[in-house]
């Protein structure tokens, strides 16, 4: 064993992630964390205890063999490390950047019990970046075409995972996307400073090279129905349409000019290039003080984008305290460092507008935390008489998304829950409609990229078994 000499009793601290300084990064959309150097990556990988019974793997929704790829880093076998990642994860450069590792693999890390957990996410990112920077990502060996055709609805994290997994097994995969560009929330939702477009494009390119076809501008349910796809010869269909219906506050004045859903604000900038207006045709309002309502990752993204548009004042309004903020700690720290003002324990009650219906401010009420609610978090309750007004000229509402009902409404034989999410069999992702599987936010409600990918992996395996049980397609038998 080459590793016998490792001294594991030193417990060196975690190698911090180098970052662009706040005053520098708010001038543009450059990526904030710079990534490890090779030396830093080796050093961090040395901290892994290589546990006999590693808990981290079970903490990963796609069960990456974490001790194995960390060992491969230590031994300088980076290509092997990359291959280990790709065995279970088609999008490692993305997951290394946007996964909440602190709640998953790193939360289970044995070293993390008494010391800092190993920075699995930073290392995943480093390996994926190393692979991309060292030539085309090598393709796995793909078996002979099976002749089975798969349709995937939605090109977000769940759909891309199913596409990659099934293409690797020799199936003929086509992804249908409603927007003009692939990757769903990875394209319209997550900003460049967290996930550079080049990284997304590279992962899409890899999936394309696996043989997956993409068709844009198709709203399945409207442009074409599931039954029509079956009639066209698809053997099985995966639905990964995500949670794309914005929740609004339902307070007076919400339709004033200057009030955006987070989806609109993010789409204008991330998908349509509004920060480069007028080089790009999509505009965004030129505001001086933007208030973002909400406390999740989307709220942090929106606030940090607003800051970058013109260096304006940006405030966040969240109804609970800092301990309950649902956003990743890292994102909260980034937002604070960039000068976003946090107004905690307050909640909007009204948007104020002038005679032209243009926003002038937002009235909020201060909140106190009461007894725990269904979510286990203490329920915020308004403090009577504590109303105050924040003067502002833009509000971004980032309080969550529900599933988009277009496809489910058009497909009555798909069973849905009272929340509009799809009912599935948890072990397979199978829906109530024969041959149709689903996963990601359309099933779980708004969640994370990696959970969608995990659901995609489960469904892909079940779809593979389902297809292999079908009669062999004629075309295949003839060849």
């Amino acid at each position: 064993m080459s590793e016998q000499k490792r001294n594991l009793k030193l417990h060196p601290p975690r190698v911090p992630m180098p970052e662009v300084a706040p005053e520098e990064r708010i001038k543009g959309f450059m990526e904030v964390p710079l990534g490890y150097t090779e030396e830093q990556a080796r050093l961090e990988a040395e901290r892994c205890l290589d546990c006999k019974n590693p808990k981290c793997v079970a903490g990963c929704p796609v069960n990456i063999d974490i001790p194995k790829f960390l060992k491969e880093i230590r031994e300088g076998r980076y290509e092997d490390a990359a291959r280990t990642l790709r065995e279970t994860n088609s999008l490692p450069a993305i997951c290394g950047r946007v996964c909440p590792q602190e709640e998953q693999c790193e939360a289970r890390c044995i070293e993390g019990i008494k010391h800092d957990p190993v920075a699995v996410g930073n290392l995943e990112r480093w390996v994926a970046d190393w692979e991309r920077e060292h030539g085309a990502i090598p393709l796995p060996e793909i078996p002979e075409p099976t002749g089975y055709k798969v349709a995937i609805v939605g090109s977000g994290p769940a759909g891309l995972t199913v596409a990659g997994d099934l293409a690797k097994l020799g199936h003929d995969v086509t992804v249908f996307e409603a927007l003009h560009r692939p990757a769903g929330v990875l394209a319209y939702g997550i900003p460049e400073f967290r996930l550079p477009r080049m990284i997304v494009n590279s992962e899409i390119d890899y999936i394309t090279r696996l043989g997956v076809k993409f068709v844009f501008n198709v709203v399945v349910g409207v442009t074409v129905t599931l039954d029509e796809l079956f009639a066209e010869g698809y053997h099985t269909i995966f639905i990964g349409t995500g949670a794309g219906l914005p929740k609004m506050m339902n307070v007076p004045g919400e339709n004033c000019v200057g009030v955006f859903s987070a989806n609109e604000f993010l789409t204008r900038v991330n998908l349509l290039g509004a920060s480069k207006f007028p080089e790009y045709d999509t505009p965004i309002l030129d505001s001086r003080h933007t208030v973002v309502v909400g406390g999740g990752n989307t709220a942090m993204d929106a606030a940090r984008i607003a800051k970058r548009l013109n260096g304006q004042k940006v405030s966040l309004v969240y109804r609970r305290s800092i301990d309950e903020l649902p956003a990743r700690k890292e994102e909260v720290h980034h937002a604070q460092a960039e000068g976003i003002e946090f107004n905690l324990l307050c909640n909007p009650t009204e948007v104020l507008g002038d005679e032209n219906h243009i926003i002038t401010g937002i009235r909020c009420v201060r909140m106190a935390l009461g007894e725990p609610d269904d979510s286990g978090r203490r329920r915020p309750e308004p403090i009577p008489g504590s109303e105050f007004v924040l003067d502002c000229d833009a509000v971004v509402v980032a309080i969550g998304n529900s599933p988009n009902p277009i496809l489910t409404k058009a497909t009555p034989d798909l069973e849905v829950t009272k929340w509009g999410t799809l009912k599935i069999d948890a072990d397979t992702g199978a829906t109530s409609k024969s041959g149709v599987y689903a996963g990601g936010d359309i099933v779980s409600g708004a969640a994370t990229v990696i959970l969608a990918m995990g659901a995609g992996r489960t469904a892909a395996a079940a779809m593979h078994r389902y297809m292999m049980g079908l009669p062999r397609p004629l075309r295949q038998m003839a060849s």
């Binding site: 442009t223 794309g244 919400e254 309002l285 009902p405 277009i406």
Partner: protein, 290 residues
Amino acid sequence: MDGYRIVRDRSLAEKIREYWIEAPMVAKKHRAGQFVIIRLHEHGERIPFTVVQTEAEKGLIRLISQSVGKTTEEFTDYHTGDSILDVVGPLGLATHMENWGELVVVAGGVGAAPLLPIVKSAKGSGNQVHAIIGARSKNLMILEDEFREVCDEVRVCTDDGSHGSKGLVTDVLRSWAAEGKKFAFGITAGPVIMMKATAEAMRDLSIPGLASLNPIMVDGTGMCGACRVTVHGKTRFACVEGPEFDALGVDFHELILRNRAYRKQEMEALDHYHSEGCRLLKAAQELAHV
């Protein structure tokens, strides 16, 4: 994908052009009242257009565009053989159609475009269809002949009296009703200020009906809510719950103000486009002189 090819285009009136575009999946599915969202090129914005007509067997859709801002101005430079990058649809709900009996449609300017498929569908459902088409002046009026082919009666008016009667569409509607005509249902489309006046006339004349709204849209699939409109005091998304709503319940004032949100940016974009165009023209002229 090379985009969606324009197979025919022509001018209909001053600053108004029509395009027949290859979009077979949309052509096959489209029903009256539905629209598409298009994007001209990689730097383009997403903007909605009503599908005016289809030739499903040839896979064609017909769009009509009035040049009012940067994108629509740029669209006028696209001609037969050119392609636009993206066309998605058919979006929105199809017009709820029934046999109301005496139907009146009230079109203002380019609002005639969304109403043409509706009058055809209404005629097919057995209605007596009456149309009022208004425009600022004769050279801005479109589709009159096509309305005359389908409708039982068409009345036209212009602000300056250069064609048809002089006055507004609401004047025509009120005088038609004063002649004793009982309209059972009305549908209106056009500039928001004109739809607002039409809805007021419909209320006075006890004509229930719909207004086909034209708010700002981005994705067109219910994802962004840019198209929020207030109808009977409730917020609705025009892209997935519309574009048609109860004309008597729409908050038109709000819609007018919301549609003005980007007026400053629209002017800036147009200026930028023109100065960019001048720069390119100058460069081309200089090259020609060499």
